[in-house]
Amino acid sequence: MGGNGRSVDLEILIENVLNAVTAGITIGSIYGLMCIGLGLIFGIMRIVNFAQGELLMLGMFASLYLVTGGHILSFLGPYWGPFIGAICAAPLLFAGGALLHKFLISRVSGLRTAGSLDEGHFGQLIVTLGISLILQNGGQIVFGSTPVAVRTPLSAEAFLIGPIYGAATVFLNKAKLVAFFVAILVATVLYLTLEYTRLGKALRAAADNPTAATYMGIDVDRAYRIAFGLGSGITAIAGGLMATYISFGPFVGFDYVIIMYSGVVLGGMGSILGAFWGGLTVGFVQQFSALILPPQLQNAAIFVVFLMIVLLRPQGLFGRSAERA
């Protein structure tokens, strides 16, 4: 009997681990996409954006209103609508992000602060903190504080794989699975664009050395604006995708801003692929921490992971190497 009990325990353990792995891959990839958004802004352009979580939140609400609120996309039905809605949130947030940059962020970043004492990070932190406060609290005024979700029947359906070992079965939530594929697709397209097009090269040049890029005839302000817009749009897509399987309110961004910074820092600053892997890793850590920790502590676990990443991986942190004396 004892042997039987052990094998049931083992089955449960295997099932939990396998499900944590699949959830880690699907959720982690969406985190990866989210991190790419911040990776563009913080990793490459070196703009500290505190309001990135609020851009994610706006992506969620944009998708929600496109799909259900305005009935613009409701003809697509509950299966395709939410995912198309997530993608359609991108151009809206691209425009929003570009405007934000044009009127506020550009005044505390880029050429204006290149070479200044702290590269303008102080100003960026403060201005984006202000934007974050306005969007969170303004969101509460506009959207209300009752949690909402973009409903799709897919979030209640799952593919079953197995039983693999004994009764151990892997559940693949369909909403998360589709979101996963969309995330991978968007990430790939973005990566190829940045790597191989003229725009991508201009962005990278502007980020690497804004002053030199100006001399090379690159409109640095425009490059930064586009990058900020892209970063906002990409994060918004991730938000729209997440909106299909979580419920959210105006303050949701806060939990994710830490995840995003963890991912970008972990992946190594300045690399798009790195940001994706970083986000994926954080997703894994989160899912596996759920095996051990009570649900209330999962968010605390992410903060601890973030602190450990920042404290233990200084080489990832000081991407521009030591200060030149």
């Binding site: 004492l117 201005v127 974050s132 406060l133 005024i141 903060f303 200084p314 004396a325």
Partner: protein, 588 residues
């Protein structure tokens, strides 16, 4: 206390006393209990802002997680009252102690980070605590009432008494802040904020001062939080550890004026009543209006007057004020504390020092010696490893191998400020000044770094300024100096620490011929007084006049060592560095 700061301190204390009495009298008149609450909250948030200002304003270590300390204070007072029936009169001091300990625990790992990484990590602490408290079931904790001994438990039916206590706490915080401002503590923090590496090279133990400021700041924030809990009677993790709480400290301080003790007070006096009134009037229709107002306030202030109201008003109204004169000290040149090395042993002895960056050998088995009173010129092409050598010698970089001794004492493996305290002054290729401090304060930083007392430091700084010929500029902000003056000021800062050895990195870079001559005159005077100097320089005509001996570096190695004449005729040096033209011109 710093010399000459007494008058300023007395004036500020007078203003503080007038304000505190005036505010308390106003509080006695107000009868409406809601307005009374606002009157109580203004000093509480001002105190919280003052605490944030010590770390983030003076010290420049931006913290977005000050709610950690505020919340610790609030929960300590509340839980101690529930579980141990501890009166807030004791609970607030207890919270203060725990806040200080938390600051130590948080600062120890987090001060390894700089700039925005520090700011982001600080954010994580209160939020992690918030989730843990929710998990532990402390979602909403109310303070029990003690009707039998109300006063013993800080329970007053008269809400104005809370206001008086709040004012008292704020006065305490402001006094502490003023004392810091007018002592070497404040100057060290300002120097660290403006240029941490320069502060370290001037002998300031940056980490220690940052930690001290965090502990003071954490304790003060805990007091504010503990008293806040007592006033509101109910604490929730969100109301004391939440993002909006951390933002309060940032917002009131930035709005009012960063790095000035009056900043948070002004900010709180304007924003807290504004936000509270809006919340009360519009909160039901527009929940979160307070956050929106704060957001708009800090964006506007950042774009319009980045240093806050206090500084903008001060600059507008008192701009024409004459710069602070040199305090009246008898500026006798401090007894140079050099020597006690036997004449035959070198002061600096460098042996086989190496440093690589990845595959690049920046400095490779470099050995040389510098005798007491000698001026050694270090020359070589760009990328030869000259600056890296200095960085290794004064502890900015670690050495991979080798040893260096100053008067027999090992130098390598020490931190930058420790090397400075051994008696090594350093200037930088790109001048590292504290641009917003007056020239005198820039130089005093060097004297404090060397561990001098207030009086000694000031007279040493005045002496150093005279040596450098900058005495007339002592009251000017360093940011307004010309390149030559900046170079001289950096030299004076190094001299103020009364060094035995000066490491000068391209002191003449970017100077015109005449300016060069001015600096050379100063250096020649130092030589006349027996100062030992290692100088990196490309201007050969200057070096020929100045240096007693040359060390030539190329690709990280010592190519040649010797007397100037011999070096400039050395074929390998001409090949690697000087070029044939130079030789031709010399012969012509």
């Amino acid at each position: 206390m710093r010399l000459g700061a007494g008058r300023q301190l007395r004036r500020n204390l007078t203003i503080l006393a007038v304000l505190a009495v005036g505010y308390s009298l106003a509080a006695l008149v107000v009868t409406n209990s809601y307005y009374q609450l606002i009157l109580t909250l203004v000093p509480v948030w001002a105190l919280f802002g003052v605490s944030w200002n010590i770390l983030s304003g003076y010290g420049g270590q931006l913290s977005f997680g000050h709610a950690a300390f505020f919340g610790i204070g609030a929960y300590t007072v509340t839980l101690a009252m529930i579980y141990w029936s501890l009166s807030p009169w004791l609970g607030i001091p207890l919270g203060m102690v725990i806040g200080g300990l938390a600051a130590l625990a948080i600062g120890t790992p987090t001060f390894r980070l700089r700039g925005h990484y520090f700011a982001l990590s600080m954010l994580a602490y209160p939020l992690a605590i918030l989730y843990v408290l929710q998990y532990l079931g402390f979602q909403e904790v109310s303070m029990p009432m003690h009707r039998d001994h109300p006063v013993a438990f800080m329970e007053f039916s008269q809400p104005r008494i809370y206001t008086l206590i709040a004012v008292g706490l704020l006065v305490g915080g402001v006094v502490i802040s003023l004392v810091i401002e007018s002592s070497r503590f404040g100057l060290a923090l300002l120097a660290i904020r403006q240029n941490e590496l320069a502060a370290e090279a001037a002998g300031i133990n940056a980490r220690l001062w940052k930690m001290r400021s965090l502990v003071v700041s954490g304790m003060m924030a805990a007091v504010a939080g503990g008293f806040y809990a007592r006033v509101l009677l109910v604490v929730t993790p969100d109301s004391v550890f939440g993002m909006l709480v951390s933002a309060q400290a940032v917002v009131v301080t930035l709005f009012g004026g960063v790095a000035s003790v009056w900043g948070p007070v002004i900010g709180a006096a304007i924003l807290v009543p504004l936000a509270e009134t809006l919340q009360a009037e519009l909160g039901t229709y527009l929940p979160g209006i307070q956050g929106v107002i704060y957001g708009i306030a800090i964006i506007a202030i950042m774009l319009l007057s980045p240093d806050g109201l206090y500084w903008t008003i001060r600059d507008r109204r008192f701009a024409a004020k004459t710069p602070t004169p040199i305090p009246d000290v008898v500026a006798t040149p401090p007894p140079p504390h050099r020597t006690s090395v036997r004449a035959d042993t070198p002061l600096l002895f460098v042996e086989n020092v190496s440093r690589t960056f990845g595959g690049l050998k920046a400095v490779s088995e470099v050995s040389f010696a510098v005798a007491e009173g000698e001026i050694l010129g270090i020359i070589g092409p760009n990328g030869a490893g000259k600056t890296t050598l200095f960085n290794v010698l004064n502890g900015v970089l670690s050495a991979d191998a080798g040893s260096a001794r100053l008067a027999g004492e090992p130098m390598l493996g020490r931190k930058t400020f420790e090397v400075c305290r051994m008696g090594v002054g350093r200037t930088f290729q790109v001048v590292r000044s504290f641009p917003r401090l007056p020239v005198l304060d820039n130089v005093i930083v060097g004297a404090y770094g060397a561990g001098l007392s207030d009086h000694e430091a000031t007279s040493s700084a005045v002496w150093a300024l005279r040596q450098a010929g900058l005495a007339d500029q002592s009251g000017v902000a360093a940011g307004q100096l010309t390149n030559k003056q900046l170079r001289l000021m950096e030299l004076a800062r190094a001299l103020a620490g009364q060094p035995r050895l000066l490491l000068l990195d391209e002191t003449l870079a970017g100077l015109g011929r005449e300016e060069c001559d001015d600096v050379l005159t100063v250096l020649a005077r130092l030589r006349g007084e027996g100062m030992t100097i290692c100088i990196i320089e490309h201007t050969m005509h200057a070096m020929m006049r100045l240096a007693d001996r040359f060390v030539v570096l190329d690709h990280g190695r010592v190519l040649a060592t010797g007397l100037p004449r011999a070096i400039v005729e050395d074929a390998s040096v001409i090949e690697a560095y000087l070029g044939k033209k130079w030789l031709a011109r010399q012969n012509a």
